[in-house]
Symmetry: C2
Subunit: 443 residues, 2 copies
């Protein structure tokens, strides 16, 4: 049995699971239909998402839209949408996208009930989700028999290598993009082969030509709306990872691409040994996780990582690498520096000596208590040797992290409290596993 | 008495000194003329240089040319030139420019006797020195009464701030350039004011327009040969120094510009304290001085300084500053580094993952014993974390200095022996004073 056959055995729902799913969907639809009648509103339920296209894996989520006539007011759409969710779901939880909707349990399945407008043209959508039924219809119409399993393989592969999901946390492939890739290339293997032709800025089209230029690393023109890039969430690094791992898989197909082993929690000693072998200094900025959803949180986390890197670089520290992780109720931002200590002296460059402001420059620093030496000339410019403001990166971070713009919720969190750990402190404060993940670099 | 009047008192030869100089020059000329007659050759002595133009300081050198007819063979020119020098000078020393000549003592004056061809047009010169008589004539014709003292002030000023001399060691102003600057601007003070208009690439002309484009920081078209830049030796840093110090002098004229106090030899403790305050690491590459003249030596010394800086940078050390000094019979090349130690790990960047050579890159390093981590992706490129070849700058220099091209004589010298000192070793090996000069940075 080929690797892919073995994977399919693990990911495709069994016949009985599939029957149970269909039964549950039918029950849900009927419940919603009868309640819609009770409420006396014009609407109808519509199954969308992977279960509607047969591209779902085991334990799928049920995505049930409720389509309202475009004449419905936004207020009514929201009100009735929530009422229907409340009616059908166990332990409903409220989510906010463009408009609120509910998710919860329905007969053992994670289920979303989302109101939308039933528009005639996806480009004339009234709410953000109105395009989804068109995506569903397009895939259902075009996916050939058996291709749904190819989609399943691709989704599981992407999940295995960490690039599945268009959310901010992952910046990878959406389920819809996986479906379109199979439509474009034909099979799972052909998608993987196809990635070898990708380049930064590569454009993929199906039956519709791009209506405009996109700036994202990969562009897949949405066949139902040529003004939209289905791959807009995919980051360059995630795209690179997919390409690299696709090639590796084709060279040596192994089941571990789909189901990687969870890394074991290493001992403190093992991590300390790795740190010692590198000889660098590690810092961790630790912030309490604000109580917001991932799609609000992660853009701020990535921004914070970048701001902290830039801060270190601005003060002359050589950054080897950074990483941000959300662990339990904390955000950890790791920075690996060539050294957390710099010499007291730093070079301060001024203008060429023939500019008027050369005088101001010399005047400013000549009597300063920060001056160590100078002015002197190097490559035709004036310089002073000055005392450095921060010789120690830990102190820099402690003092300056609050001055950075990290995003609304993270700014609030650090304004309350945050702390900075260095080297063995990171281990002794219990962050051994996140740090080992930072050290475990792989494409 | 103004600063400049006080300076002139110290630098202009007294009446009796001047009378004695003229007497000696007359004797020398007569001796040469009679010996030329004895030898039966067609030639005549010609006083050139500062004493011929009245722009000399105290204890001047006498520059006596012997002009031969262009029909003289090069061999005869050299033979008779040397014979005449030998005849006139005490303890003659042989020098090699384009052709050999002698210098030595004549009646208590340092004297050069240099053979040249008497050509009609300086651009049709037969030997490198044939232009000099034209320079002399030009200055004598054009220098107005009293301007010779302005030249003397400028020369002494340039000497005081360390920019006098066109030789490789100094890369500053020649005596002839000082004379032309006074011809251009009128007086010493006006030359200093004039420098404020200079820029990198600034061109100065007298009665002749530039015949071509020059690339040097300052261009002064030779009035006797418009294809030549009289300021070609002036480096950008020396030009910047002259400009900066000119302005400082005009703001606050002090005699110390002309006669700076020699810095005192500091104690080891004082220098160590300065080093500690900077917090950097100091290295000194020490090479035995090859037995060659300064104009052969210094270009190699500057080249070595630059090569050693580049070597340190190539291996990721952050160079704060470098300096090269020739002290007694040794060449010292100082390097100040942010740190002489780097972490074991270094980042090694590879291609983007979609290039063919990405495979080779991964293949090359994946199994290498230098590999610490990777491959991983950053900003769309592949990376490995590898073991650094040199973590320690002292070891780097010890192992790699011999592989650099430092110039013929320095390459020979380091191939025999050289050593590398670090921090307090520099002091304990007796290089306290040169190191303190390196630390004493000023424009």
């Amino acid at each position: 049995m080929s690797t892919e056959e073995r994977v399919l055995k693990r990911i495709v729902p069994s016949k009985s699971e599939e029957e149970r799913l269909r039964e549950v969907i039918t029950i849900l639809k009927r419940m919603l239909e009868s309640e819609i009648e009770n409420l006396g509103i014009e609407a109808h339920p519509l199954l969308v998402g992977s279960t509607s296209k047969g591209t779902h894996l085991k334990d799928p989520e049920i995505d049930m839209f409720v389509c309202f006539s475009p004449s419905t007011s936004r207020a009514d759409l929201e009100k009735y949408g929530l009422m229907l969710g409340d009616y059908a779901l166990n332990k409903p939880e409220r989510h906010y996208a463009e408009h609120p909707y509910l998710s919860g349990d329905f007969e053992g399945f994670e289920t979303e009930i989302v109101p939308c407008y039933e528009v005639k043209d996806p480009r004339k959508k009234l709410s953000a989700v109105d395009r989804t039924p068109f995506h569903t219809a397009y895939v259902k119409e075009n996916l050939k028999k058996g291709q749904n399993d190819e989609v399943r393989l691709l989704k599981r592969f992407a999940k295995g290598i960490g690039v599945y999901g268009a959310e901010a946390k992952v910046q990878g492939l959406s389920g819809y993009l996986c479906e379109l890739l199979v439509l474009k290339y034909g099979t799972f293997q052909k998608v993987l082969k196809g990635t070898s032709r990708w380049r930064n800025g590569y454009v993929i089209e199906l039956d519709k030509k791009a209506k405009k230029r996109f700036r994202e690393p990969l562009v897949f023109i949405d066949p139902v709306d040529s003004g939209r890039n289905v791959a807009s969430a995919l980051s360059l690094d995630q795209m690179s990872r997919l390409m690299y791992r696709s090639k590796s898989y084709l060279d040596n197909p192994k089941i571990s691409f789909f189901f990687p082993r969870e890394p074991k929690k290493p001992t403190k000693q093992a991590v300390q040994k790795k740190m010692d072998a590198r000889g660098t200094d590690f810092l961790a900025v630790v912030v309490k996780k604000p109580d917001v959803v991932d799609d609000i949180l992660y853009p701020q986390v990535w921004k914070a990582e970048k701001s902290i890197r830039t801060l270190c670089e601005k003060y002359d520290f050589t950054v080897h690498d950074t990483s941000a992780q959300v662990v339990d109720n904390e955000i950890l931002i790791f920075v690996e520096l060539n050294s957390a200590e710099l010499p007291m002296v730093r070079k301060h460059m001024g203008p060429v000596p023939w500019l008027k402001n050369a005088d101001d420059f010399v005047e400013k620093w000549k009597g300063s208590r920060k001056r160590i030496a100078g002015p002197y000339v190097e490559n035709g410019r004036l310089f002073f040797d000055l005392k450095r403001e921060y010789r120690n990166a830990k102190i820099l971070l402690k003092k300056e992290v609050r001055t950075l713009g990290l995003g609304k919720n993270l700014d609030e969190a650090v304004s309350k409290t945050f702390y900075v750990l260095m080297n063995e402190e990171i281990l002794s404060k219990g962050h051994t596993f996140p740090l080992s993940k930072f050290l475990q670099k792989s494409v």
